[in-house]
């Protein structure tokens, strides 16, 4: 009967109730949305790289090294020598070592120079390997493998030709235009910065960078081209052996034994020949997340405040309604309703508003996630899962219901006191 009365009385005042529900729905939507995206982003971040034990680059801050090597944000302070790479790679503790060379771009997308082993070893998420959607890894100097989004946004197909630029500015290397790269592979989507990266061989990078008039390699390429016009690919392969890089930007290591991680890291950091920095990606990622954490906490706090203000709004509305319902309260008292009944009635009304709002907010969140999922994935490389019903969000919803019930104690107590005092005297 109490539930029926609460529902019918809400229905009776639907104009003001609907507004309260809208206000609360928006706040539930914001709170759940922020919470969900917060967790997803964190996961997305942590999933960017896995299976790599150590990343080595020139001396800089560990965050900077992580950002430019993994997230392709910012640029390296300095390069490191090929000798250092070979020295570390020959360490018996090292299972595999993959060099990377950065600094070039194509239409705003970063270019990563590496070796074919990169595609076997680099993994993301829960040890997911990189998969080819089309084609295969590069084998020739002027082959390029595109990240999923690069191909999707620029509309490249296999065998398309494209030209790289030095830096992220305009193309100032004439040879680049004459020596276009051929698309030989497109990677499957990963939801990580890999999707936005073009992968070429280290030799390809070298070929771009050693194109001065006095550069012996450039003559070699030109010479070989003159001899064999129709077999360019084979020739560039021959040439590739001459294109050993002098320096690279960074390299990634996996070790045979995790136990040796810190020792290897220390040895690299203490290298006497060249100042190097070795970082553990997991630790650097959590450092990075700590910085992001301030922002996400602020967002979360703001959404909590939005929710509390919506709860207070509902309470204010209920409080105002008690004044209009004086006669109803008197009537209920005369037919035998104890003051507790009035208290519970108003509590229940607040709870119903909160419940409807939570249901609506969740539904709208689900709807908007399914609508924006593709957009978020393609523009921000954010893989937001549709599953918002984690224990965490369920706890959050329960907390919201409890909060709104607590805030509704104010009008409920008012109703209780009013029903206790009020008699028929002011009829």
């Amino acid at each position: 009967m109490l539930i029926k009365l609460a529902l019918k009385s809400l229905h009776d005042r639907k104009d003001s109730i609907v507004l309260s529900i809208i206000a609360m729905t928006v706040s539930v939507f914001v709170l759940l949305g922020v919470e969900h995206i917060r967790h997803q982003t964190k996961e997305s971040f942590a999933n960017t790289v896995s299976g790599v034990d150590i990343i080595v680059g020139a001396r800089t801050s560990s965050l900077n090294l992580l950002l430019y090597s993994v997230f392709k944000i910012g640029s390296a302070s300095n390069n490191i020598s090929w000798q250092s790479f070979e020295k570390v790679a020959s360490n018996p503790q090292v299972k595999w070592a993959v060099p990377i060379s950065l600094g070039d771009s194509h239409k705003g997308f970063r270019v990563l120079g590496t070796i074919p082993a990169y595609f076997q070893h680099f993994s993301y998420g829960k040890k997911h390997k990189l998969l080819f959607k089309q084609g295969q890894a590069f084998s020739n100097v002027f082959d390029v493998v595109l990240g999923y989004q690069v191909a999707a946004k620029l509309g490249y197909q296999l065998d398309d030709k494209l030209v790289l630029a030095h830096g992220i500015g305009k193309n100032s290397f004439s040879l680049h235009a004459e020596k276009p790269f051929t698309v030989v592979g497109v990677l499957a989507p990963t939801g990580t910065p890999v999707d936005h990266t073009l992968h070429v061989s280290l030799q390809g990078i070298e070929a771009i960078h050693y194109t001065g008039k006095n550069n012996p390699y450039s003559h070699q390429i030109d010479a070989s081209k003159m001899h064999n016009h129709h077999k360019e690919a084979d020739l560039t392969t021959q040439v590739a052996s001459h294109l050993t890089p002098k320096s690279i930007t960074a390299f990634m290591l996996a070790l045979n034994s995790k136990m040796s991680t810190f020792k290897v890291q220390r040895d690299i950091n203490n290298d006497k020949q060249e100042p190097l920095l070795a970082i553990l990606p997991g630790i650097a990622l959590s450092e990075l997340w700590q910085i992001m954490g301030v922002l996400e906490s602020t967002l979360f706090l703001v959404s909590i405040l939005v929710f509390i203000s919506a709860s207070l709004g509902v309470s204010a509305m209920l409080l105002a309604s008690i004044k209009q319902r004086t006669r109803e309260i008197q009537l209920l008292r005369v037919i035998g309703a104890p003051p507790l009944f009035l208290f519970l009635l108003i509590q229940l009304e607040a709870l119903f508003i909160a419940m409807i709002s939570c249901a609506l907010g969740t539904a709208i969140l689900l709807a908007s996630l399914s609508l924006t999922q593709d957009y978020l994935a393609s523009y921000f490389s954010l893989q937001i899962s549709m599953n918002i019903f984690t224990p965490n969000t369920l706890m959050l919803i329960i907390t919201m219901l409890v909060t709104s019930a607590l805030v509704a104690v104010i009008p409920s107590i008012n109703g209780y006191i009013k029903s206790k005092k009020h008699s028929l005297s002011d009829r």
Partner: protein, 228 residues
Amino acid sequence: MIIDLVNLKFSYAEQPSSCVIDIPSWSLSAGEHTLIHGSSGSGKSTLLNILNGLLSVDSGHVKVLDQRIDEMTNRQRDTFRANNIGYVFQQFNLIPYLDAIDNIQLANYFSKAVSQSSLSKEIKTLLQSLNIPEKDWKKPVRTLSIGQQQRIAIARALINKPTLIIADEPTSSLDQENSDAFMKLLMALVNKHEITLLFVSHDVSLSHYFSRIELLSDINHAGNLHAN
């Protein structure tokens, strides 16, 4: 005795010095149909609130159905009221957004005088005997005419099989025709169920329905003192 008042004194907490009710002695015996006649401001509503237990007296005895309601706890009074006293007001007798059946059920909810199994049958019989067309039973009562609403109010007052019905100016918002119909129906029902009726009105033309007629100013001495 259905009602027995002895040395009853009451004043509102806001004005403790001005006594609103001062009744040395007054009683109502079982089966009596009494009209209390009083103008507004003579302490009518206050007296009714004391009788139904919503107000606690300062001193004196209030016996309703031979029970000292001035000695009961609030919770006991709420239940006592739900179980034993039917109430009909001038207006706002019903929760406007509930239908007739829900309104009657609500009154029963607080008393449990009628078992759930027989309740809907009981409600049907009552509504039929009060000439409420069946098509109106499931409509929110605010959409019904005032005459119908007042009749549903009688049904609401009767559902818990009360011993006493207190009616507070129930006819003053009705026209003459509806008022007569209402009075006839009410008198027939209280006679049939042998219910004691305490009827408060300023309308002297209703006097012929009652066996006993009293002036509130004769009962309540506080009003006299105040007027003088």
